[in-house]
């Protein structure tokens, strides 16, 4: 077992890769009552085209299948997994994103028993026609619920504007139509391809004794049989640099218009330290130009173009990335213009100083230290970083080394107007005035 001590943070991380390929990480936290365990596969909504395990030809599976599979993992021949967790006083959950599917529980008692339940239910699939068909009603209601959430429609609308081909534009849960055709055979095919231990990370954090936990996990995994790990072949379409749609408007039953200005990033074939450096430089650049201390923010706030819902950030994965600046706004067109002007202005006249960079850096270090109080944050973020060959605990050292040049270069990468788009939701009453 490898042991790494992070002196500044006073944290110790234990790690071991097991013979079946599974990466196990354990981070004990002093003073905590609960233990939080996440079991995550590097598989999400964007993985729709791949060569299934043991086959030679690529297949395209129905949209929403990774999420559907996540739902169906909880039902077994002998009943519902939630019930087992409840008996042990553990609250269990799962989520699917564009790139990951995570199964998790937290409990203050019977942690080894609960870890066993988690490992077993994720590693023993059980799908039948009846159970698959039954789930369609439940997920149908989940999709309908998201359809009524304006902020979700806004977020996905902006992504759809940006991407022409890439499956990041697919809604994670799919559509009522796309899930209709999903079968138990589809689920087994995806399961066997993506749920091999070598494609997964187990992260344990909180009240835990590392040696005991590691031995427990190793014994459990050694007793189970898995095929030899193989490299998974996934296919993503070539994506153009420019956005697919420069602007689009949707009408919904809302009180006030909402808008997101999206900037598509093309610097996305990165991993490891390069990715970490780019991600952090972009986040600092966005914070400098569009954050709450910026001249831009002060200006649009005073003009009444934004409200408390305002946000500006940058996020990326290995295949895609984007900045989003958005708010509920009485005048979304004017807000979009102000954002465009700020990009032009800062592009020609970069007035920030090292002191500004230092201030933002301090803010981000403070955010990171606060986040380390949350064991959920640690587990989820650590896993995300590790799937991208980055280390969560490199964030502070990388921030401390950040230079003005890096930030300026990151900002340069968002100037191209072909990569800009806006997505707006307007109330129904406005229909006739437009």
């Amino acid at each position: 077992m490898n042991k790494t001590y992070f002196k500044q943070l006073e944290e110790t991380l234990y790690h071991e890769q097991l013979p079946n390929g599974l990466n196990v990480y354990i981070l004990p936290k002093k003073g905590f009552s609960k233990t939080f365990v996440t079991f995550t596969t590097n598989y999400g909504a964007i993985d729709r085209e791949f060569i299934p395990l043991g086959k030679d030809e690529p297949v395209i599976v129905p949209d929403g299948i990774a999420h559907f599979l996540e739902h169906k993992m909880f039902e077994k021949e002998d009943g519902d997994v939630f019930s087992k967790f409840s008996e042990n006083g553990a609250s269990a959950n799962a989520f699917t994103s564009s790139t990951r599917t995570a199964y998790l529980f937290s409990s203050t008692d019977k942690v080894l028993d609960n870890t066993k339940v988690l490992l077993d239910f994720v590693q023993q699939p059980y799908f039948t026609k009846e159970t698959v068909d039954k789930e369609k009603g439940i997920i149908g209601q989940e999709i309908t619920m998201y359809d009524d959430l304006p902020d979700w429609r806004l977020y996905f609308g902006a992504i759809e504007n940006m991407y022409k081909e890439h499956p990041v534009k697919i809604d994670i849960a799919g559509t009522v139509e796309s899930i209709e055709v999903i079968t138990a055979e589809h689920l087994y095919e995806c399961y066997h391809t993506f749920y091999h231990p070598s494609n997964m990370v187990l992260f344990v954090v909180g009240a835990v004794e590392p040696e005991e936990m590691m031995a427990f996990i190793k014994a459990d995994q050694a007793a189970k049989k898995f095929e030899e790990p193989k490299k998974i072949k996934r296919f993503y379409p070539e994506e153009q640099h420019a956005v697919a749609v420069p602007s689009k408007t949707l009408q919904m039953d809302v009180q006030k218009p909402k808008v997101i200005f999206g900037i598509k990033s093309n610097n996305t074939h990165l991993s490891g330290l390069d990715m970490l450096n780019y991600e952090i430089s972009m986040q600092v650049a966005i914070e400098l130009v569009f954050g709450r201390t910026s001249a831009f923010y002060q200006n649009v706030y005073e003009q009444g173009l934004i409200d408390e819902s305002y946000s500006a950030d940058f996020s990326m994965e290995q295949e895609y990335g984007f900045s989003m600046i958005g708010s509920d706004s009485a005048n979304p067109e004017k807000l979009v213009e102000a954002i465009q002007e700020a990009i032009v202005l800062n592009g020609s006249d970069w007035t920030y100083t090292d002191a500004d960079i230092k201030r933002i850096t301090r803010k981000k270090i403070g955010f990171f230290l606060r986040a380390l109080n949350s064991i959920e944050y640690i587990a989820n973020q650590f896993t995300r970083y590790s799937f991208n060959d980055m280390n969560l605990f490199d964030v502070v050292p990388t921030l401390e080394k950040l230079t003005m040049e890096q930030v300026k270069e990151a900002f340069e990468s968002i100037k191209n107007v072909e990569t800009h788009t806006s997505f707006t939701i307007i109330p129904f009453e406005k229909k006739n005035d437009e």
């Binding site: 943070l9 936290k29 939630f82 439940i138 209601q141």
Partner: protein, 425 residues
């Protein structure tokens, strides 16, 4: 859980030293009775104090100062609890121990002092342009509830069953009341915070208790106050004539919200039994509602119940197909009736006890939750501990649960749906 000190008459300091967190959390809570007009004034005042002050007259200067202090979090907001309105000033700062040679904590205390005691006043009034804009912000916050259909449906249910009652009064007040606020009212309300409202201050982190007490005394000079807020009491309400309402909006899902009246509140002897009763009905993913309405019938993605203990109300919420209201109500009724008939298994009881215990213990892993739980439970017992509370659940019996279920009286069914559900009455 917390050590307590009197800083002045009506001003109490509660400190919890723990090595658990890398930050220090501080929370000031000013309490007074909940009423629409004052709630509106206090919400706008919260925004004004958060925007700027005498030392940092521009918001961007103020925020830059917070960034410099390692992104110290500082926010002012308003909430409600039972029939009380709470104006809070919250801060979270990195503990000096994690920074080399820096003294951040003292700076944050001094900033908190500035926010409370040094507002930006011109001739004894707040800056008119800031007042105008922050009134607008609060109005927009109130209106934004309309876009969140679950929150909106719940609010409509409350307005129907408990009009002009603390259960339905929003902590932000109303649009009309915010519009009517004058500058003088805001100044008066600020004066009340400094001199009249009962104040509780919480500190959680890796701190020395005596040092915190001294810092509080050095940085702040709180006036004695006499206006002791009395303990929460159940507020009387009128019985509504109608028992259902179906409203239509342009939306896809149907939002079903059902209210049950109970004579049990947070202050009742039977409160712990009601927590278990609600847990079995719909608090968890092993509960009757989840197992039967979601898993067996595939009718909903979410279906759950919650016990609003300060108002003595149980709510059942479900997102369903707009055409299936009748079927859903029937299924939900069946779950409640089963519990009233004593159809509760030993497994359901033990699962629910384990889950409640886990939920309460887990909450202690967040500094904010420690403050909120203690702020509530200290009303029952200042020596509150999680272990003592867990003990209260241990011996609850099936018979007691049945008795609790029998005290749940279905009061109102509210349904919000798209036009597809129109024929569904």
């Amino acid at each position: 859980m917390f050590q307590q000190f009197d800083l002045a008459h009506g001003v109490k300091l509660y400190v919890r030293p723990t090595e658990q967190f890398k930050t220090i959390n501080i929370s000031f809570k000013w309490k007074q009775s909940l009423a629409v007009k004052d709630a509106s004034i206090r919400s706008v005042l919260a925004n004004i104090l958060q925007y700027s002050n005498e030392v940092y007259p521009s918001n961007s200067e103020f925020r830059k100062r917070l960034d410099d202090l390692y992104g110290a979090v500082l926010y002012v907001d308003t909430t409600k609890k039972g029939d009380k309105h709470i104006f809070s000033l919250n801060a979270e700062t990195v503990n000096d121990a994690y920074l080399s040679n820096e003294k951040i904590v003292d700076e944050v205390f001094s900033l908190l002092h500035t926010v409370i005691f040094k507002p930006q006043l011109v001739n004894g009034k707040f800056v008119e342009s800031i007042v105008k804009r922050e009134k607008e912000q609060v109005i927009e916050r109130i209106q934004s509830m309309y876009d969140d259909k679950t929150r909106y449906a719940q609010q409509r249910l409350l307005e129907n069953i408990r009009p002009n009652h603390p259960a339905s009064i929003s902590a932000n007040g109303t649009v009309a009341a915010v519009q009517a606020i004058t500058n003088e009212e805001l100044v008066d309300m600020h004066h009340k915070l400094l001199h009249e409202n009962e104040l509780a201050i919480y500190i959680v982190g890796d701190v020395d208790v005596q040092e915190m007490k001294e810092k509080m005394q050095n940085h702040f000079n709180f006036a004695d106050r006499v206006d002791r807020v009395t303990k929460d009491e159940a507020v009387e309400h009128m019985v509504t004539a109608n028992n259902s309402l179906h409203e239509i909006q342009d939306m896809k899902q149907g939002k079903l919200h059902i209210a049950y009246n109970t004579p049990i509140t947070f202050y009742s002897e039977e409160f712990p039994i009601m927590q278990i009763t609600n847990g079995i009905l719909g608090g968890f993913s092993h509960s009757k509602l989840f197992m039967n309405v979601r898993e067996k019938e595939s009718m909903a993605y979410y279906v759950s119940s919650s016990f609003s203990s300060l108002y003595g109300l149980v709510f059942v919420l479900a997102g369903i197909d707009a055409n299936l209201q009748e079927k859903a109500v029937k299924l939900i009724d069946e779950q409640v009736k089963a519990m009233q008939a004593g159809e509760v298994s030993d497994l359901e009881i033990s699962q629910t006890k384990s889950m409640l215990k886990n939920q309460l213990k887990e909450a202690l892993d967040s500094a904010r939750a420690q403050i909120e739980i203690y702020d509530q439970y200290k009303e029952l017992n200042e020596a509150f501990t999680v272990e003592d509370w867990v003990e209260k659940w241990t011996n609850v019996t099936k018979d007691q649960i049945q008795q609790m279920a029998l005290k749940m009286e279905k009061e109102f069914v509210y349904f919000l749906s798209g036009k597809e559900g129109e024929g569904n009455e």
